[in-house]
Symmetry: C2
Subunit: 256 residues, 2 copies
């Protein structure tokens, strides 16, 4: 028996009028379209991802990436921003939001053909208060345990893995790592971001030379803080740079 979405295909297409705009072919399969979000932040000295507990079937009570169905007249990025606001209470759009990939395996959702456009979002901790409205529950989960065999709903483990790899690759050659930082931050705090995203140690002295030497990456404020202890560190803001040239090199993973 065809799925409900499939059975409505012929009806959908034939109801379409003629004219200069043309009409969709009669055998076009309608699908449901959703957006899902890989929202990452750095908190508690860990890279964490926002998960929501599903309140309905399928996968009821399982953890999943936040997301929802695209509404009529709504663009994809628009839907992503709306879902983000609804599920985190975010006032402003996230510091960074980009389309990740689209997942459309025919059997990825038991309810029928549901295709989802995944987005990657990065935000500092302070801008993600989590005031969920349409999620039964939501929480931050360290990425080291989120993807594990435990099993997120649908194909969300694969989406999360792709999002993580994108984030890890992107901070190499772009300036998006500052999207994790608050308005004013020190070089050491930015370095901690890189270390936690990459799970590797970076030399503080070489890192300092690199980031302060890249034009328009960081803008010095002239002010200092001692919140990290030791000698006062200068505070910086995000600069206008979007690409890093030359790139920041990701250290080869240490096996021991």
């Amino acid at each position: 028996m065809p799925s409900p979405l499939e059975s409505s295909a012929a009806t959908t297409a034939h109801a379409n009028g003629g004219g200069a705009a043309g009409r969709l072919p009669p055998d076009v399969v309608p699908v449901a379209l959703s957006v899902d979000l890989v929202l990452l932040t750095v908190r508690e000295e860990q890279l964490q991802v926002l998960l929501v507990r599903r309140g309905i079937e399928p996968y009821r009570d399982r953890w999943a990436l936040p997301g929802g169905f695209v509404r009529p007249g709504e663009d994809l990025a628009e839907a992503a921003v709306r879902e983000l606001a609804e599920e985190t209470g975010l006032r402003h759009p996230p510091a960074h939001l980009e389309q990740l990939a689209t997942y459309g395996a025919p059997d990825r959702d038991p309810r029928g053909r549901v295709v989802t456009v995944a987005f990657l979002a990065l935000a500092p901790q302070s801008r993600t208060p989590i005031a969920g409205t349409d999620a039964a529950a939501s929480r931050w989960e360290p990425v080291s345990t989120a993807g594990g065999g435990s099993g997120l709903a649908f194909d969300h483990a694969a989406i999360l893995a792709d999002g993580l790899e994108r984030a890890r690759a992107k901070i190499e050659y772009s300036a998006v790592a500052t999207a994790f930082c608050e308005g004013e931050f020190t070089v050491a705090e930015l370095r901690r971001i890189y270390e936690l995203v990459w799970s590797s140690r970076l030399d503080p002295r070489n890192f300092h030379r690199k980031v302060t030497g890249t034009a328009d990456f960081l803008v010095p404020t002239g002010r200092f803080t001692t919140r990290d202890g030791g000698r006062p560190a200068e505070l910086y803001r995000r600069g206008d740079a979007t690409v890093l040239h030359p790139a920041m090199l990701r250290p080869v993973p240490r096996l021991p």
Copy 2:
């Protein structure tokens, strides 16, 4: 008046059965899902893209990227490979195929809500015979003129621009440039690929040192050819390398 696709939403969802699989919410908007292809090749000393002339409304007689609607039970990449075969007579899958991005602006298709997943495909000239079956006409067009103000159908000019930028960026840090090459090729032929994709000149000597020095990028065959004139050049095959490390650096565009 709601579009046909939208009006079928309630019907679609309500027809869905209950049970452990759950059902789609009643207000989900069904959309039509298509794939579009940015198929690039190098021929006639130019980077060219495959275009098809539309035989039906909307945009009848305008040039467009090849593509079509996803079929029931078909995965996205599967649909892309099928369309590629149908519109080019390609026997084998292309040398390189990757998902590019998804375009879903609500008004991008006058027939209703059509969301398209764009793919980027790279192939050598010999594997793209163009034996179109369901396209009224198709041709290769230099990318320098294809995107111009002339106007491709739908938002295909934007998709093409994104595909070009992806291809230009990707040959920097990955080994996909060999996807444009025939089975056996010389270093000079590979260099010509880079020059045409980037629209810039590369030093033959430094290029040779770079590509032959990168492990597993090229596999020497021990055979030689004089088809390019001058001293015989050694023939190589694609190696197993997928990433280039360090990357091949794209020269800064020359303004004069």
